[in-house]
Amino acid sequence: MSDRPAPVARAGDAPGPSAGNPPVLRAEGLVKTHYGEGAPAHAVRGVDLSVRRGEFVAVTGPSGAGKSTLLHLLGGLQRPDSGSIWLDGACADGYSEARWAVERRKRIGIVFQFFNLVSNLSVADNVELPALLAGVAPRRARTERAELLAELGLAGKERSMPGELSGGEQQRVALARALVNHPPLLLADEPAGSLDSKGTREVMRLLSRFHQRGQTIVLVTHDARLASAADRVISFFDGRIADDAALDGTPPRAAGISGVLELRD
C-alpha cells in the first residue's frame, strides 16, 4: 500500500457531494516513515481519512501502530513524506511551519498525554495565552478563560501553577487551553494516558459533553473505554486503517449488554 502512486486531488473531488460543507478534515494517501537508528519505521503507510463536522472519531490500536504519528500529521506537528491534508476543504500541503502554527491556534486544538502546560505560568495564563496570541482582546480572553475553567470544574484554581494540580486537573486545564479559541477541530493524543481511572472517566465525560455540543473530535487512544465515547472507531494497525466502524451503542445481538452484566446463579 505504501508504494502506490501519490494520490492526486481529482477535479471533481474537492467540492464533493456536500459542496459548501466540506469535511473538517480530510487526508489522502498519507505516508510517514521515521528514519532513526536501525531499520526505517513505517509509521503511517497510506491513510485516507475524512472527518465530518460534529463527528467524534477514535483511533485505536496497539502502541507502535503509528496512531500518534497519524495525529501529528493531521495537526501539522509533523509533515508527511507524501499525501495530502485538507482543513475545511482547503489544501494544507503548501503550509509553512508558521502557517500550521496559526492553524493550531485558531482551527485545531490539541491535547497531549503529558498536558504540555507551561510550567511557570499560572492556570489562568496558560489558558489565556493562546487566545491572546490569536489576537483576542485581553478582556475577552479573561471571560473565555473564566467560563471554560468554571465549566471544567476548575474555578478557584486560576492562580495555581500547573505543578500544584493533580494529573486530572492539569489535563482539564490543557483541554481549556485547547478549546479557548473555539477551534472547529479538537485533536487528542492519549489524553488519559497518564491518568488514573477516575481521571480517565473525567476526560471521557468532558469529551462527550463537548461533542454533544457539536465539537468535532479526533481522539487517539489505546483505551477502548475511552474510544467507546466516540461514535466512530478506527482500528489502526501497522500504519494502516484495519477497520472503520460506526458505533451506535446497540450491539447487533441482544446478548451484548445484558450478557456481560448477567450475574450468574
Binding site: A245, P252, R253
Partner: protein, 171 residues
C-alpha cells in the same frame, strides 16, 4: 439468583416484593432486573430445599403475603458461598474456535472475524459507557459492576489486538 436472595434475607425476614426492591436499589440500572415472578419461583425452590421458611401474613385488604426467613441450613449455605472463591470468567470460547478453524474452511477470513468481533465489543462498551453515565453517581455498587464489565471487555479487546498483530504478520 439463589444465593443473592439468601444474602438479602440474612439481615432479617422479608417478602418477595421487598427483595426485588432491595436488588433494584443496590444494583441500579446496571443489572437487568429479575422479574418478580422469577424471584417468587426461586423463593419457592429455596423453601423446598429447606434453606428458607415462609410464613403467611394476613393483610386486611389484600391476599396474604408470605414473609420468608433464613433457616440454619440457609445460613450455612450462605457461609459456604462466601468461603469459596469463584471460577474465572470464561476464557475465549466460540469466537476462539471460529478464529482457529476459519483458515481450514476457506469460508471466513481471520482478520474479518476479528474486526467483526471488535465491533460487537465496542458497541457493547459504548452501551456500558452510556449506562454508567445514566446511573446515579452515588451508587458505587452499580458503578463497580459496570466498570468490571468494561474492564473485561477491555481485556477482550486487547486480546483481539494481539490476535490481529500476530495474524497480520503471517499474511
Amino acid at each position: 439468583m439463589r444465593l443473592p436472595l439468601l444474602a438479602l434475607l440474612a439481615r432479617g425476614p422479608a417478602h418477595g416484593y421487598e427483595l426485588k426492591q432491595d436488588l433494584e436499589q443496590m444494583l441500579g440500572s446496571a443489572y437487568p432486573q429479575p422479574n418478580v415472578g422469577q424471584i417468587y419461583v426461586t423463593l419457592g425452590r429455596l423453601e423446598k430445599s429447606g434453606l428458607i421458611e415462609g410464613e403467611d401474613v394476613e393483610q386486611s385488604s389484600r391476599p396474604n403475603k408470605k414473609v420468608y426467613h433464613l433457616t440454619d441450613a440457609g445460613r450455612a449455605a450462605l457461609r459456604a458461598w462466601f468461603e469459596e472463591p469463584e471460577d474465572e470468567p470464561r476464557v475465549r470460547d466460540e469466537f476462539f474456535m471460529k478464529l482457529a478453524l476459519a483458515p481450514r474452511t476457506g469460508l471466513a477470513d481471520q482478520i474479518s472475524l476479528i474486526n467483526q468481533q471488535r465491533r460487537q465489543y465496542l458497541n457493547t462498551m459504548r452501551s456500558l459507557s452510556k449506562l454508567a453515565a445514566a446511573e446515579n453517581r452515588d451508587n458505587r455498587i452499580a458503578h463497580l459492576l459496570i466498570e468490571g464489565a468494561m474492564l473485561h471487555l477491555q481485556a477482550d479487546l486487547d486480546w483481539l489486538e494481539r490476535c490481529q498483530e500476530e495474524l497480520e504478520e503471517l499474511e
